[in-house]
Symmetry: C2
Subunit: 84 residues, 2 copies
Amino acid sequence: MEDKEIEGWDYRAKPSSLSRRFEFSSYAQTRDFLDRLDQLSQQTGLYPHSTNFGTGYVNLTIDLDVDAEAYQAFAVQVGQLYRA
Amino acid sequence: MEDKEIEGWDYRAKPSSLSRRFEFSSYAQTRDFLDRLDQLSQQTGLYPHSTNFGTGYVNLTIDLDVDAEAYQAFAVQVGQLYRA
Protein backbone atom coordinates (compact mmCIF):
# COMPACT_ATOMS: atom_id res chain seq x y z
CA MET A 1 0.00 0.00 0.00
CA GLU A 2 1.45 3.33 -1.03
CA ASP A 3 1.56 6.33 1.25
CA LYS A 4 -1.33 8.03 -0.46
CA GLU A 5 -3.74 5.07 -0.47
CA ILE A 6 -6.76 5.13 1.82
CA GLU A 7 -8.73 1.99 2.66
CA GLY A 8 -12.00 1.79 0.77
CA TRP A 9 -10.86 4.22 -1.92
CA ASP A 10 -9.29 3.57 -5.32
CA TYR A 11 -5.97 5.33 -5.61
CA ARG A 12 -4.71 6.60 -8.95
CA ALA A 13 -1.19 8.01 -9.31
CA LYS A 14 -1.49 10.30 -12.33
CA PRO A 15 -3.09 12.60 -11.48
CA SER A 16 -2.79 11.69 -7.82
CA SER A 17 -6.38 11.12 -6.69
CA LEU A 18 -8.78 8.95 -4.75
CA SER A 19 -12.12 7.78 -6.10
CA ARG A 20 -14.99 5.84 -4.61
CA ARG A 21 -18.56 4.81 -5.42
CA PHE A 22 -21.19 5.01 -2.68
CA GLU A 23 -24.52 3.26 -3.26
CA PHE A 24 -27.91 4.02 -1.69
CA SER A 25 -31.30 2.36 -1.76
CA SER A 26 -33.27 5.61 -2.19
CA TYR A 27 -32.90 9.17 -3.43
CA ALA A 28 -33.63 10.42 0.10
CA GLN A 29 -30.56 8.53 1.37
CA THR A 30 -28.45 9.76 -1.54
CA ARG A 31 -29.55 13.32 -0.87
CA ASP A 32 -28.85 12.99 2.86
CA PHE A 33 -25.31 11.84 2.11
CA LEU A 34 -24.79 14.74 -0.32
CA ASP A 35 -26.07 17.22 2.26
CA ARG A 36 -23.74 15.88 4.94
CA LEU A 37 -20.86 15.91 2.47
CA ASP A 38 -21.63 19.57 1.75
CA GLN A 39 -21.63 20.35 5.48
CA LEU A 40 -18.27 18.59 5.88
CA SER A 41 -16.84 20.57 2.95
CA GLN A 42 -18.05 23.85 4.41
CA GLN A 43 -16.54 22.95 7.80
CA THR A 44 -13.18 21.85 6.40
CA GLY A 45 -12.93 24.07 3.34
CA LEU A 46 -12.09 20.89 1.35
CA TYR A 47 -14.18 19.81 -1.64
CA PRO A 48 -14.13 16.73 -3.88
CA HIS A 49 -12.61 17.41 -7.29
CA SER A 50 -15.80 16.00 -8.79
CA THR A 51 -19.07 14.60 -7.50
CA ASN A 52 -21.20 12.51 -9.86
CA PHE A 53 -24.56 11.29 -8.65
CA GLY A 54 -27.82 9.74 -9.76
CA THR A 55 -30.81 8.83 -7.63
CA GLY A 56 -29.05 5.82 -6.06
CA TYR A 57 -25.30 6.47 -6.14
CA VAL A 58 -22.58 9.04 -5.60
CA ASN A 59 -19.15 8.75 -7.29
CA LEU A 60 -16.46 10.98 -5.78
CA THR A 61 -12.99 11.91 -6.96
CA ILE A 62 -10.69 13.63 -4.49
CA ASP A 63 -7.56 15.31 -5.81
CA LEU A 64 -4.33 14.72 -3.86
CA ASP A 65 -1.99 16.85 -5.95
CA VAL A 66 -2.11 19.73 -3.49
CA ASP A 67 -2.23 19.29 0.30
CA ALA A 68 -2.47 15.48 0.09
CA GLU A 69 -2.56 14.91 3.85
CA ALA A 70 -5.55 17.18 4.37
CA TYR A 71 -7.45 15.53 1.51
CA GLN A 72 -6.61 12.04 2.77
CA ALA A 73 -8.09 12.99 6.14
CA PHE A 74 -11.10 14.40 4.27
CA ALA A 75 -11.54 11.06 2.43
CA VAL A 76 -11.54 9.21 5.75
CA GLN A 77 -14.20 11.60 7.10
CA VAL A 78 -16.33 11.13 3.97
CA GLY A 79 -16.16 7.36 4.50
CA GLN A 80 -17.40 7.90 8.05
CA LEU A 81 -20.39 9.90 6.75
CA TYR A 82 -21.36 6.85 4.71
CA ARG A 83 -21.35 4.55 7.72
CA ALA A 84 -23.12 7.04 10.00
CA MET B 1 -33.99 20.28 -35.22
CA GLU B 2 -35.45 16.96 -34.18
CA ASP B 3 -38.55 16.65 -32.05
CA LYS B 4 -36.58 15.80 -28.95
CA GLU B 5 -34.06 18.63 -29.15
CA ILE B 6 -34.27 21.48 -26.65
CA GLU B 7 -32.49 24.78 -27.20
CA GLY B 8 -29.35 25.10 -25.10
CA TRP B 9 -29.03 21.35 -24.58
CA ASP B 10 -27.01 18.78 -26.51
CA TYR B 11 -29.25 16.04 -27.81
CA ARG B 12 -27.98 12.49 -28.22
CA ALA B 13 -30.13 9.85 -29.93
CA LYS B 14 -28.76 6.58 -28.48
CA PRO B 15 -29.62 6.51 -25.68
CA SER B 16 -32.07 9.35 -26.15
CA SER B 17 -30.85 12.04 -23.77
CA LEU B 18 -30.11 15.71 -23.25
CA SER B 19 -26.90 17.01 -21.69
CA ARG B 20 -25.70 20.46 -20.70
CA ARG B 21 -22.86 22.11 -18.83
CA PHE B 22 -23.66 25.01 -16.48
CA GLU B 23 -20.77 27.17 -15.22
CA PHE B 24 -20.58 29.27 -12.07
CA SER B 25 -18.08 31.74 -10.67
CA SER B 26 -18.23 30.41 -7.09
CA TYR B 27 -19.10 27.29 -5.13
CA ALA B 28 -21.91 29.23 -3.41
CA GLN B 29 -23.53 29.82 -6.81
CA THR B 30 -22.99 26.19 -7.84
CA ARG B 31 -24.55 25.02 -4.59
CA ASP B 32 -27.51 27.39 -4.97
CA PHE B 33 -28.21 25.97 -8.42
CA LEU B 34 -27.96 22.39 -7.12
CA ASP B 35 -30.35 23.21 -4.26
CA ARG B 36 -32.90 24.74 -6.62
CA LEU B 37 -32.52 21.78 -8.97
CA ASP B 38 -33.23 19.46 -6.04
CA GLN B 39 -36.36 21.47 -5.16
CA LEU B 40 -37.54 21.29 -8.77
CA SER B 41 -36.97 17.52 -8.79
CA GLN B 42 -38.92 17.07 -5.59
CA GLN B 43 -41.78 19.19 -6.96
CA THR B 44 -41.94 17.42 -10.32
CA GLY B 45 -40.80 13.93 -9.33
CA LEU B 46 -38.32 14.14 -12.24
CA TYR B 47 -34.57 13.72 -11.72
CA PRO B 48 -31.56 14.05 -14.02
CA HIS B 49 -30.11 10.69 -15.02
CA SER B 50 -26.76 11.96 -13.74
CA THR B 51 -25.45 15.13 -12.13
CA ASN B 52 -21.70 15.76 -12.18
CA PHE B 53 -20.37 18.80 -10.38
CA GLY B 54 -17.23 20.45 -9.11
CA THR B 55 -16.89 23.76 -7.30
CA GLY B 56 -17.58 25.81 -10.45
CA TYR B 57 -19.69 23.68 -12.79
CA VAL B 58 -22.61 21.28 -13.06
CA ASN B 59 -22.94 18.79 -15.94
CA LEU B 60 -26.40 17.27 -16.31
CA THR B 61 -27.69 14.36 -18.36
CA ILE B 62 -31.45 13.95 -18.68
CA ASP B 63 -32.78 10.67 -20.01
CA LEU B 64 -35.58 10.88 -22.61
CA ASP B 65 -36.16 7.16 -23.13
CA VAL B 66 -39.22 7.13 -20.88
CA ASP B 67 -41.77 9.99 -20.72
CA ALA B 68 -39.77 12.22 -23.09
CA GLU B 69 -42.27 15.10 -23.05
CA ALA B 70 -42.17 15.42 -19.26
CA TYR B 71 -38.36 15.36 -19.24
CA GLN B 72 -38.14 17.91 -22.07
CA ALA B 73 -40.32 20.25 -19.99
CA PHE B 74 -38.06 19.50 -17.02
CA ALA B 75 -34.98 20.47 -19.10
CA VAL B 76 -36.60 23.80 -20.00
CA GLN B 77 -37.34 24.46 -16.32
CA VAL B 78 -33.75 23.61 -15.36
CA GLY B 79 -32.54 26.14 -17.94
CA GLN B 80 -34.80 28.73 -16.32
CA LEU B 81 -33.23 28.02 -12.91
CA TYR B 82 -29.86 28.91 -14.40
CA ARG B 83 -31.07 32.28 -15.64
CA ALA B 84 -32.99 33.11 -12.45
